[in-house]
C-alpha cells in the first residue's frame, strides 16, 4: 500500500517519458544498473517497474546514508526492501557476496555502478562490483537504465525536490560474455548505458 502511494507520488513529481527497449520483467532475477545523480534515482526507477516486480526488486543502497534517522530506515527497509551495503571498510567483497545471494534467491537488484552520485554532466567509470556480481551469477540478465533530469529534481546537497519531467529508458539486456575481462565488460556496460542518453555522454 505505502509502496503504491510512494510510486504514484514519485511519478507525479518526477515522472515523464518512459521507454522499455528491454523485454518486460518475467520474474527471472535481473540487475538494473543506472546512472546516479540523485537520491530519487532508485525510487523513480522502482516506481516504473510493474507493481508485482517491485517487492522482489531490491535497491542496493549505502548503509552509511540510509541508516541515519528513523525515517530513512523506515523507507529503505519497509517500503523499498533495500539491500544495505558498506561502501567503505574492508568488506567491499562481502557486499558482492550478499548481492549474489539475493540474485541466487531469485530477487532482482537496482545498482548504481558509478558508486556515488555525480552532477549529471557525465557518467563516471564503473566500479568493479557489477563485474564481480556477474562472475558469481553469470546467468543474470543486466538491464541498463538511463535516468535523465533527476539531478535537477533533487541534486546533491538539496533537501526539497522540485517537480520536473524526466526520461527513464530501460535499454536492451546484456550479459557477461565467456572470458570477458573486467575492463572490457565494465566499459561495454557503461557504453550501453551511455547509448540510451539523449546527449550520449
Amino acid at each position: 500500500m505505502t509502496g503504491r502511494v510512494v510510486a504514484a507520488l514519485a511519478r507525479l513529481l518526477a515522472g515523464g517519458y518512459v521507454r522499455w527497449d528491454a523485454p518486460p520483467p518475467n520474474g527471472e532475477p535481473r540487475v538494473y544498473f543506472a546512472n546516479h545523480t540523485s537520491h530519487l534515482d532508485f525510487v523513480l526507477l522502482w516506481s516504473y517497474l510493474p507493481p508485482s516486480q517491485r517487492r522482489r526488486t531490491r535497491p542496493v543502497a549505502a548503509r552509511d546514508y540510509w541508516e541515519k534517522g528513523p525515517l530513512r530506515r523506515y523507507f529503505i527497509n519497509r517500503v523499498f526492501c533495500g539491500l544495505l551495503i558498506d561502501r567503505s571498510g574492508p568488506d567491499a567483497r562481502g557486499a558482492v557476496d550478499r548481492m549474489a545471494e539475493q540474485v541466487a534467491a531469485g530477487d532482482s537488484l537496482i545498482l548504481f555502478p558509478e558508486g556515488t552520485r555525480g552532477t549529471g554532466d557525465r557518467i563516471a567509470p564503473f566500479k568493479a562490483g557489477l563485474f564481480h556480481l556477474c562472475e558469481a551469477e553469470p546467468d543474470v540478465e543486466l538491464v541498463p537504465v538511463s535516468l535523465e533530469n533527476l539531478n535537477r529534481v533533487l541534486p546533491k546537497g538539496e533537501l526539497i525536490p522540485v517537480p520536473m519531467v524526466s526520461r527513464v529508458i530501460f535499454g536492451p539486456t546484456l550479459r557477461l560474455e565467456d572470458g570477458e575481462t573486467k575492463e572490457t565488460f565494465l566499459a561495454r556496460a557503461r557504453t550501453a548505458l551511455k547509448a540510451l542518453r539523449e546527449d550520449g555522454r
Binding site: G16, Y17, N149, R152, P155, E158, I160, P161, V162, P163, M164, V165
Partner: protein
C-alpha cells in the same frame, strides 16, 4: 443533486458533444483508420477524463476548482521548467515557486483577496525570485534564468489562477459560484482549439505563422474562431451576458486563446520539442492543453469584472 437547471443543461450538452465525438471517432476508425484518426481518438478519450475531472471539481464548489487548478499550475510549471535553462543555483527559487508561491496564490484567490492575488506574482514574486536566485551566487545566465522562472510563474500560475477566480466574482443577479462562468470560459476556449484544429485539417491551406506553428492556418483560425464565437453565443443563457455580449466575450476568448497557443508554440519551437510533456494521450502535456486558457482567463476575468 444539481439544482441549477442551467448548469445541468451545460453538463448534458458537454456529455452529449463528447458522446457524439466518440461515436464519430469510432466510426472513422472502422471506416478510414490511420494514425491521424488514432490520434484524434486518443484525444477524445483524454477529453472525457479531463471533462470528468473538471466537472467533478467544479461541482464541489470553489474548493475543488482551486485544488484542481493549483495542481494544473504545478504540472504546467513543472513542464515549463523542465525545458528551461535553469541550473543548480535556481533550485531553491524553484522550490519556493512550487511549494509556497503556488499554494499562496490559490489561497488568496480562495479568500477573495483580489487586491493581493492580482499583484502577488507580478510584484512580490518578481522581486523575490530575482533575490532568491542572486543569493545562490551563480551569475552565469542570471537574467535569462531569472526571467524564465518569472515568466513561468506568470504564465503557469498567475494566468491559470484567473480561471477559478471567476467563481468568486460578485455579479448582480447572477450566481458565479456555481461554476457556470468558468465552464463557459473553458468550453469556449477549448472548443476554439478543437474547431481550429478541425477546420485546419479540413480546408486549411494558407499558413498563418509558418515559422512558429506550421499546422496553424488562416482557414483554421477564421473557421475556429467563428464557430467558437457561435458556441459561446449559444450558451448566453448560462452567463450574465445577453447574446450580443456573449458573442463579443467568446470572440475575445477565442482570439486570446489563439495568441496563447501561438506564444507557447514559439517557446516549444525554440527549445526544439513538439510537446511540453506526455501526460495526456494525444494532447502532449498539461501545458500543451491549457496554453490557450492561459491568455484567455485573465482577459475574460477582467472584462467581466469591469463591465458586469
Amino acid at each position: 443533486m444539481i439544482e441549477d437547471r442551467e448548469l445541468l443543461w451545460l453538463l448534458t450538452g458537454l456529455a452529449g458533444t463528447l458522446a457524439l465525438a466518440t461515436a464519430a471517432g469510432q466510426t472513422l476508425r472502422l471506416s478510414v483508420g490511420g494514425d491521424t484518426i488514432a490520434n484524434v481518438n486518443a484525444r477524445i478519450g483524454a477529453w472525457w477524463v479531463m471533462s470528468i475531472a473538471f466537472v467533478a471539481a467544479t461541482l464541489t464548489g470553489g474548493i475543488g476548482s482551486l485544488v484542481l487548478f493549483a495542481l494544473l499550475s504545478m504540472l504546467a510549471l513543472r513542464e515549463f521548467v523542465t525545458l528551461s535553462p535553469t541550473g543548480r543555483g535556481d533550485h531553491r527559487a524553484l522550490a519556493w515557486s512550487f511549494f509556497v508561491v503556488i499554494p499562496l496564490q490559490y489561497v488568496l484567490v480562495g479568500i477573495h483577496w483580489y487586491g493581493l492575488f492580482s499583484i502577488l506574482i507580478p510584484v512580490y514574486g518578481f522581486l523575490f525570485i530575482a533575490t532568491r536566485i542572486v543569493l545562490s551566487g551563480e551569475t552565469e545566465g542570471f537574467l535569462e534564468r531569472t526571467a524564465t522562472i518569472q515568466w513561468g510563474l506568470m504564465a503557469c500560475v498567475y494566468c491559470v489562477s484567473y480561471a477559478p477566480a471567476l467563481m468568486l466574482l460578485d455579479i448582480d443577479g447572477y450566481d458565479a459560484s456555481s461554476g457556470k462562468l468558468l465552464l463557459f470560459l473553458v468550453v469556449v476556449v477549448q472548443s476554439s482549439d478543437v474547431l481550429q484544429f478541425v477546420w485546419g485539417k479540413l480546408i486549411g491551406r494558407r499558413r498563418i505563422a509558418p515559422t512558429v506553428s506550421p499546422n496553424k492556418t488562416w482557414e483554421g483560425f477564421v473557421g475556429g474562431v467563428a464557430c467558437a464565437t457561435l458556441v459561446g453565443t449559444g450558451l448566453w443563457w448560462a452567463t450574465p451576458f445577453n447574446p450580443w455580449q456573449a458573442a463579443a466575450m467568446s470572440f475575445v476568448i477565442a482570439i486570446a486563446g489563439f495568441a496563447g497557443g501561438l506564444v507557447m508554440s514559439a517557446i516549444k519551437r525554440d527549445r526544439g520539442v513538439k510537446d511540453f510533456g506526455s501526460l495526456l494521450p494525444g494532447h502532449g502535456g498539461v501545458l500543451d492543453r491549457i496554453d490557450s486558457l492561459l491568455f484567455a482567463a485573465p482577459i475574460f476575468f477582467h472584462l467581466t469584472r469591469f463591465f458586469f
